[in-house]
Symmetry: D2
Subunit: 388 residues, 4 copies
C-alpha cells in the first residue's frame, strides 16, 4: 500500500519549526510502513533571507513571507503553525476554513477570546473531517504515557497531590537579551503561557480531570533587558509563575514555573501522590519514571525507577532501538506528529493522546483565570465553557 502524500505548509522557521520539520522527515522511515508521506511544500517566515535559507536547508519546495499564500496553496493539506503566539489565531482560522488540518504551537493563543474563535473554527472544520492539534509535545514522552496508564489503571488510588516545578535559568542573568516572549503583546504572558501551559495540559492528560479554580502569583524580577539595538526594552510579562489549582477530582495541584531558577538547565519535576501510590518524573532524565505502590510487601516498598526504554513500558520502543537505548528531547515531537499524521490518514481521533483545540482552549481558560488571579490575588473559578 502506497502512503498518501500530504503537503505541509510550515509557518515559522525557528526552534519549533526545526523540531517539527525534523519530525516530518523522520516519521516515514522510523514508523515504517507509514500510511502518510509528508511533503514539505512551503515554509513561511518574516525575514526573507532567513526563510529562503531555511527552505533550502530542509528542502521545502518553496518559501514565502506571506502565510496567506500557504492557505491558498492546494498542495498543502496540513498547516503547521510554529510562529510566535501573536501569529497563531488568524492563520489557524484561515487554514481551518480552507479545509486544512492544523497544528499550532502552545499556548494556543494570546488570550481566551482568540482561543475561543480558534476552537470554534476547528469545531466547524471537524464536520469535514479536519484534524487539529495543539503541540503539547510532552504528552508523547514515553514515561508520561506510562504514567497516564498507571494512573488510569487505578494504581495510585484517590489522587491527593499533583506537583509541577518547571525551572530554568535562562533569564537569571539580567543581561540576557530581550525577545518576543518577554513582550505581552506578542506572547500573551511569560512563563505562565510558555511553561505552566505545559504543566496544565499534562495535569489534564495524566489525571483525566479538570481544574475548578486557580490561584496565581506571577512576578517579574527583571523588568527591562537589553534589546537588539542596544536600548533597554521593558519586560511586561512574568519571569516566574506560581499556581494553585483545585481539581475536579478533589486533589490539590501546585504548579511552579520560573526562568530565573539559577542552577537548573531544564528541570521539570512532576510528582503525583494518591492513596495507593505515587509517581515522579523529571524531564532532564526523561527516559525514567519513578513509581511507588503500596501493593508491594511492606518491607520492600520504595520508589522504583522504571527505565522507560523497554517495549513493555514504552509505546514507541518497537519503532526505535533495541532495549535499553534512550531517546532525547526531539523524539517527543516526532511521536506527536506521527500520531497526528496517522489520525489524519485513518480518521482516528486526535484525543485523548494528542491535545486538540478543545484541550488548548481548556488550558487557555486556566491561563486567563491565572492572569486575573495574579492581578487580584484570590481564587478564580474556571468557567468550563460548554464546548459542544
Amino acid at each position: 500500500m502506497m502512503p498518501v502524500k500530504f503537503g505541509i505548509g510550515m509557518l515559522g522557521y525557528g526552534f519549533m519549526g526545526k523540531a517539527h520539520t525534523n519530525a516530518f522527515k523522520k516519521i516515514p522511515y522510523i514508523f515504517y510502513p507509514f500510511p502518510v508521506e509528508p511533503e514539505l511544500v512551503a515554509i513561511c517566515g518574516r525575514d526573507k533571507a532567513n526563510v529562503r535559507e531555511t527552505a533550502a536547508r530542509y528542502r521545502y519546495q518553496k518559501w514565502t513571507t506571506d502565510w496567506r499564500e500557504m492557505i491558498a496553496d492546494d498542495r498543502i493539506q496540513i498547516f503547521d503553525n510554529t510562529g510566535s503566539n501573536d501569529i497563531h489565531c488568524e492563520p489557524c482560522i484561515a487554514a481551518l476554513k480552507a479545509g486544512k488540518h492544523v497544528i499550532v504551537e502552545k499556548p494556543m493563543a494570546l488570550n481566551l477570546a482568540e482561543a475561543w474563535r480558534m476552537y470554534r473554527a476547528a469545531r466547524e472544520a471537524e464536520e469535514k473531517g479536519t484534524k487539529h492539534l495543539v503541540a503539547f509535545n510532552y504528552r508523547f514522552v514515553p514515561a508520561l504515557r506510562l504514567a497516564r496508564r498507571i494512573i488510569a489503571e487505578g494504581c495510585l488510588g484517590r489522587i491527593y497531590h499533583f506537583r509541577s516545578a518547571y525551572l530554568l535559568d535562562r533569564l537569571s542573568d539580567p543581561t540576557a537579551p530581550f525577545f518576543w516572549r518577554l513582550n505581552k503583546e506578542r506572547a500573551g504572558s511569560g512563563v505562565l503561557g510558555d511553561l505552566n501551559s505545559h504543566a496544565i495540559d499534562i495535569l489534564r492528560f495524566l489525571l483525566q480531570t479538570e481544574i475548578n479554580a486557580v490561584m496565581a502569583w506571577n512576578h517579574t524580577f527583571i523588568s527591562q533587558r537589553p534589546g537588539p539595538n542596544g536600548d533597554n526594552c521593558p519586560v511586561d510579562v512574568e519571569d516566574a509563575s506560581m499556581l494553585w489549582l483545585k481539581l475536579t477530582n478533589g486533589a490539590m495541584a501546585t504548579l511552579e514555573a520560573s526562568k530565573v531558577a539559577t542552577g537548573y538547565k531544564t528541570v521539570w519535576r512532576i510528582e503525583i501522590h494518591g492513596s495507593e501510590g505515587g509517581l515522579a518524573f523529571e524531564l532532564s532524565r526523561g527516559n525514567e519514571l519513578q513509581f511507588y505502590t503500596k501493593s508491594d510487601p511492606l518491607h520492600l516498598q520504595g520508589m522504583r525507577t522504571i527505565h522507560v526504554t523497554e517495549p513493555e513500558a514504552h509505546d514507541y520502543a518497537r519503532y526505535w532501538w533495541p532495549r535499553g537505548h534512550g531517546l532525547g528531547w526531539e523524539h517527543y515531537h516526532i511521536h506527536m506528529l506521527e500520531h497526528f499524521l496517522r489520525c489524519i490518514a485513518t480518521g482516528a481521533d486526535v484525543a485523548p493522546w494528542g491535545a486538540t483545540f478543545a484541550d488548548g482552549f481548556r488550558c487557555q481558560e486556566v491561563i486567563e483565570a491565572a492572569l486575573v488571579s495574579g492581578e487580584k490575588g484570590g481564587w478564580v473559578d474556571i468557567n468550563h465553557t460548554q464546548l459542544e
Copy 2:
C-alpha cells in the same frame, strides 16, 4: 576546669523527649571538654506508668505527673518542654518566671497570643541572664549551616526563589489512627504548624530576611480517623498546607507540606536560586548539599554535591568522626542542645544560630496569618510586631 552542673527538668517523654535526653547524654563526651554537665533531674508526663518507666530508662533522678513540681525544684536550672503544643505556654512562662532557662519544642505555641505571652516572659527573663530556645533543630544540620554561610558570603547574589517541599506519607492511609496532632485544640494546626513551621524558620535562618505577606491553602483530605477506642475522631486540622511568602528581600518563597504524599518517607527538599548561584538540600540525604555557582567556568558549571562530612564544610565534624562518615537525624538535636548549653555556660547569645523565643514568635506570626489566609483565600500581611 570542672564543668558546671545544670539540672534538667524534662516535660514530655515521647519522640522529642527521647531525642533531647539522648542529646544531653552524649554532649559531654562528644564535645569534650564541655563546660556544662547536664544532670537529668526530673521528667514529667501525664501517664504515671509510662513516665516512671521513662525515668528509669534514661536515669532521671525523679519523675512526676505535675510539671509544677519541676518549676518548684531548685535543682533544675533548665526546663525542657517537649510536650504537646497545648502544654507549651503556661509551663514555659512559669519556668521563665522561676528563673529557669527554657527550651520549647516547635511550634512554640497554640496561637499568636500565647506566643506573645511566652516571648514577653522570655524577654523579661533575659534581664537576669536567662536563655531560651525554640527547638528548630534543622538549623543545626551541618549542610544547612553551610548553606547559610554560602548565602551570607554572597555566593547566591540577589535571591529570587526559596522553595520548600516537606512531604511525608504517614497519613496517606485513611486508617492511620487519630492522635493529638490531628486535633486543633491540642495542636493549633496540622502540617502547617508541624512541618511548615520548620520551613518558615529555616527560610529566616538561611536568608536572614523576613516575611512580608503570606497566602495559604490548607486542606484536610481525611476528615476522620479511628480513635483509640474504636470510635471515629474528627480531624479538624490540615493534612496539607501550601504557602506563598513575599519576602522582605524581594524573593518569592513557596512552601508545601503534606502528610499524604504517598511514596515519600521523609522528603524535605529546600531549593534556593539567586542571581549568582543556587542551592539544594534534601533531608533524607542530610549529609549532602547541592551548590551551583556562576563563577565556575561556563563549560564546567553544574550543581555540585558537597558531602558535608569534612571539617572544612561542617562546623561539627571535628567532634565526631574522621572524614567521610555521615551523621543521622538524631545529631541535629545534639548540635542544637550543645549550642544552648554552651550559651548558658558562656553567656553567649543563642541567636543567630539557635532559634530564640523571638524567632519562635516570628514564625508564629506567619502561621497565624496563614490560618487567616487559608480561611479567606487572599494575601495577608505580616505585622512584624515590634519585639523591642
Copy 3:
C-alpha cells in the same frame, strides 16, 4: 557552495544499519550547510525479502544480497559495514582496495590477524586519500568529549584510576534466544568484544594513553540457549568479562562487562580519578557529566553534575536545540558519521576524534590478549605492534 555527493553502500540492515542510515539522512539538514550530500545508493543483506523491504524503507536506490556488487559499483564512494563480525574483514579490505572510504562496526574484526590485514589495507589506501573509521560511537557523546577536554587540560592531574562497568540484563534470562553474538565463530568473543571493546576504546580516547598489559576473567553463565528451531544452541562466548589493564601512564584500569546484570537496562558507568580531580559518567544519563576538582575552595568541593546541553560544554549543541534540551542514544552515531563525512570532504584527519583502523587494531590487540589471559589466568603484555 553545493555539497559534494557521496554514494553510500551499506552492508547490514539490522540495529546498526538503521542507526547509520538514520544518521546519513539527518546530517545534511542538522549540520547545515554541510559539505557532503550522502546518497543512499545500495544496501546489502543476506535475506532477500528483508533487504528489499529495508531498501524501500530507507529509500536506498538498490539492494543486493552480494556485497561484491557494492564494491564494484562506482556510484558508491563510502562503504559502511554494519554486518556481523564475521563479515567485517573481507568486504572492508575489498572496499579499501577499490578506493572506497570505509566504516566498520566494532569490534573491527574476529581476531587480531584479521584486524592486522584490515589495518594494512587501510594504511595503504590512505596514500590515495581514503578515510577509515571504526564505529566507536561513544567517542561522540558530548559529555565524553567534554571529559576528554577536561583531562587534556590537566584538570585531573596524574591519573590514578579508570573504571568502567558496562552492565546489561539482556541475557540474565536463561531463555533469552540464541543469536550470532553468542557464537564465537561469528562474533569472535562475547561481551568482551561487544561491550568491553567500547570501554577499551573510550579509555584510550579519554586518557590518551596506551595499555601495557591485561588480565582477564571471562565467564559463561548460561552455556546453551534456545535456537531458532526450538533446539538448544551451545553458547561458546562469555556472558561476563572482567579486565584489569596496566596503562602506560601508570594508572590502573578496571573494566567490567556483563549481560547478566539483572536490574540494569543499560548502565555504563565510567569513573576516572586523578591527583587533582575526578570524573564520572553513566550512559543512561548521557547528557550529564560529573566532575570534581580540588581547585574549588575546600568547603565547597563536590562532584558537580554538568548538564552537557549547553553550547559552552557541548561541541555539537549549536547544531541541535536551544539550551537545556537533551539528546538521546541515536545522536552519538550522527555526530560520528558527521565527523567522518566532513573529514572525507575536507581531507581532515579522522583521528583523534574518530577511531581509525589503527585505533580498532589497538583495541583488538587488547581483546586478543584478554582472550589469552582469560584462558591462562595471568597478566599478558600488549605487543604494541609498530603501526608505521
Copy 4:
C-alpha cells in the same frame, strides 16, 4: 529484672575506641530494657597523657598503658581491642585465656598465622561460654540486613555477580601524612585489609557462600609520605587493591578498594545481580537499599529505593525514632555491640548476624591469598582450613 553488669576493658582510644565507647553508653537506654549494663572499667593506650584524658572524657574508671593490667583485672568481663592491627593477636589470646569475651577490630590479625592462633584460642574459650566478635560493623547496617533477608528469601535467584567498590580520596594528596596503616609491619596490608576486608566479610554475610579462589592486583601509587618529624616515610602497603573472587555458589565477585579515588569522600557501592533480581547499596546513602525484582509486572520493573527507616524493613527501627528518620555511621557499631552484649547475656550465638573469629579467619584466608596473588599475578585457591 535488673541488667547484669559487664565490665569493659578497652584497648585503643582512637577512632574505633570512640565509636565502641559511644555504643556502650547508648545501648542501655536505646534498647531499653536491656539485659546488660556495660561498665567502663578501664581503657588502655600507648600515650599516657592521651589515655588519661580519654578515660576522663568517657568516664572509664581507670586507665593504663599496659594491656596486661586489663587482662588481669577481674572486674573486666569484656575485652574490646580497637588497637592497631599489630596489637590484636597477643592481647586477644591472653584475654580469651583469661576467660574474657573478646571484641577485635578488623582485620582480625596481621596475617593468617596470627588469625589461626586467635581462632584456636577463641574456639577453646567457647567451651566455657566465651563469646568473640570481629568488628565487621557493616553487617549491622539495617539496609544490608534487609539485603541479606531478600537474598535468603530467594528473591535474587541464582547469583551471578557481586560487585564492591570502596572508594575514598583520603590518600589522593601525596602530602597526606604517614601513619600506621601505611606500614606493613603494623597494618599487615593497606586498603586490602582496611577496606576490602569489609567487602569480603559482607559478601560472605549477604550471600552465605564461601570464596574458592582469588586473583589480586595491589598497587602503591605514592610510595613515601611525610612522617611526623618532617622526614619521608616509605609506604610499603597498597593504596589500591583489586580482587576477583570465584565463589562457591558459582558467582563472580569483583572487589575494588582505593584511597586515591579523588572526588569520593566515602563511596562504598555494593551491587548484586541474580537470575531473578538485583540489589544495590551505597554507604554514603546508608539508609537506602535499591532492589529490583523480575516478579513485578514487566512494564513496572525498576530498581526501587527502599528507605530503610521503617520498622517493616529495618530490624532496629523500633528502638530508634518514628518512621522516616535516618541513622548515621555511628549506629552500625551500636547495633553490632548491642548484638554482642545480648549474646553474652542470653547465651545466643554471635553468628550469623555478627562476625565471629571463625568469620575473621575466613576473611584473613582471602587476604593472605590475595597478597600471594598480588605478588604472583595468578589465581590462588583458598584452603578453607577445617575449623573444627
